[in-house]
Symmetry: C2
């Protein structure tokens, strides 16, 4: 059936649209009978207000755009889930896009989002992105932008990130506290700030315990994959004085390393303790269960949304935008893979 409008109801009742509009919205100055008839016909005609007309009139769209590099990733699913939780509670909706880690596509989807009329944008930059002119352009259109996880200081915007440094520091400290002294690290590539921070946390923890930094105990990934974990673990086992423990930049690398260790006849954690980063669901299912550093994805989504909604409100009130920079703690999850067996 064709969608009914206020006018349809008004005409069929011989009143004006204004009356109908008021009747439907419980305005005080409306006769009980009129209200009744209007409500009844509206019901009968399956009337529903045209959302676009309402929004145009009220200048509020109530939609925020979200751009992540890759939806099919547990961390981003968590973030998105947190975002939806917060914004829906305030009657907002979420339009979701992905950049597929492509700078080109990121520009394209942010443009599309602007053209769709979102009230604000939550963005996790792609790994390729170094220039943020496209986001600055959005801000020029009075569109608030909040960055999370992968951020860029070139943009004057609120940011919400995990404390990768602290997470890494805690992970390594957990190893050192148990008496391990030769802690290896498989680090990520130099570009994303996140993995660089993890490396920094690793070095800082060693330094805090007065241990030397040994370059031969560090491997640098390019793609951050399972197979790189395999490669570096083999390398470590072949050293004249091999490490006794390993902090890997991600869980997939940690799992790759464990695979290689096992093939080489090394037991985990007896011959080498291992701790990863990200706390994927697999960590709990593997044997041994894998220790890892959990990122507060859901919380990042919530906090970033709160900041964005605040800025949207400030914009509406014609107040200056206040930016914030949140750094949320990561939590180490200690499981079997990193627990030193009792000393006999």
């Amino acid at each position: 059936m064709k969608r009914a409008t206020l006018r349809d109801i008004a005409q069929s009742l011989g009143v004006t649209v204004a009356t109908v509009s008021r009747a439907l919205k419980n305005y005080p100055d409306i006769s009980a009978t009129t209200k009744q008839t209007v409500l009844a016909t509206a019901e009968r005609m399956h009337y529903a207000p045209h959302p676009l007309a309402v929004k145009l009139r009220q200048k509020s769209y109530r939609v925020v755009g979200v751009v992540v590099p890759d939806i099919v990733h547990p961390f981003f699913s968590d973030v998105i889930s947190g975002i939806i939780e917060v914004v829906e509670a305030l009657g907002y909706h979420v339009i979701l896009s992905q950049s597929n880690e492509s700078y080109e596509k990121e520009i394209r989807v942010t443009q599309m989002l602007l053209a769709t009329g979102v009230d604000g944008l939550l963005v996790c930059l792609s790994n390729e992105t170094v220039d943020v002119g496209h986001l600055r352009a959005l801000q020029d259109y009075d569109l608030p932008v909040v960055l999370f996880d992968k951020i860029n200081s070139g943009l004057d915007a609120s940011t919400v990130v995990t404390n990768d440094f602290q997470g890494a520091y805690d992970a390594v400290t957990h190893l050192l506290d148990q008496g391990y002294t030769r802690v290896a690290h498989i680090k990520g590539p130099p570009h994303p700030e996140n993995t660089r921070q993890r490396f920094a946390g690793y070095r800082a923890a060693l330094a805090a315990y007065g241990l030397p930094f040994r370059p031969e105990y560090v491997g640098e990934c390019h793609a951050v994959t399972h197979s790189e974990g395999v490669t570096f673990a083999r390398q470590f086992m072949a050293l004249p004085e091999p490490p006794d423990s390993l902090f890997a930049v991600t869980d997939s690398v940690a799992i790759g390393a464990i695979t290689a260790l096992r093939e080489g006849g090394w037991r985990v954690p007896q011959d080498m303790a291992v701790i990863g980063f990200s706390d994927w669901a697999v960590c709990q299912l593997m044997e041994p269960s894998i220790s890892s550093v959990a990122q507060p994805g859901y919380e990042i989504g919530r906090r970033a949304s709160e900041l964005l909604l605040r800025e949207i409100q400030q914009l509406r009130d014609e107040q200056p935008l206040e930016h914030d920079h949140l750094v949320l703690d990561a939590t180490i999850k200690i499981r079997q893979s990193s627990q030193r067996p009792a000393i006999r």
Copy 2:
């Protein structure tokens, strides 16, 4: 800076909004000079058309709503990814909501989506949902709805699902073809059609190979968790004539079972072959790697979107809506856990 409108440009140039509108859209009957100046001022004023005004005028919103029970789930991430791929290529956007497997919330979010003015809806029903009156109501508002994965025959709508029966049948056949004859099954609860189909596929495969159905080889989960896998595997091991292989309704159950088997001193696949369902990423990472049945999530997202967009178009053309019912094949991924060792 305040957002510029057509009128702003028109006034600053001493022309009408109509002229500006035409100049910006490359209409033929517009002087080159006017076009130049308009374009220049538009640029200077950072003009961008107001999306809501355009959409209201053109009666096209170009947004589809998506409702899934839980975003943080690899299968749904895949589906969403497929949806976004297809609809963005046609200039549409995706508004995402989750029902958290709650019937109440499903009603709430579908209503919100209607109120937001989406052009159509892609829905995976919550496990709680038995009545689909809320979706029928949407259809009454001329809102096309396509169901995927968890569907309900009570609604006259297009559907896209995995062929759970065939996937299960193939999984069990794969075991039987290798000479296993005592195939156990840990099934899901009776309600969601999907897991019932898997059970049906299991029985059909046994029947096709002339094997008896043995109730003692079947366990029924309530929550479909890792720990239920543990419980049933222990039960199977304790049987006087234990099964030689197992088809589990999901990967988490399969992994639970493997854990229990290992604890009980049983080797996988030597003492019991195991195959799961869903093909989570973990399956490749575990040792032994776990065989599983892959659901075509991405493809489901694509196909469901295509059906929905077709219906949206048909509605616009005032043609009758054509419904389709697609059943996409699942693919068995054979890995170590289900491969019978060579017979010596």
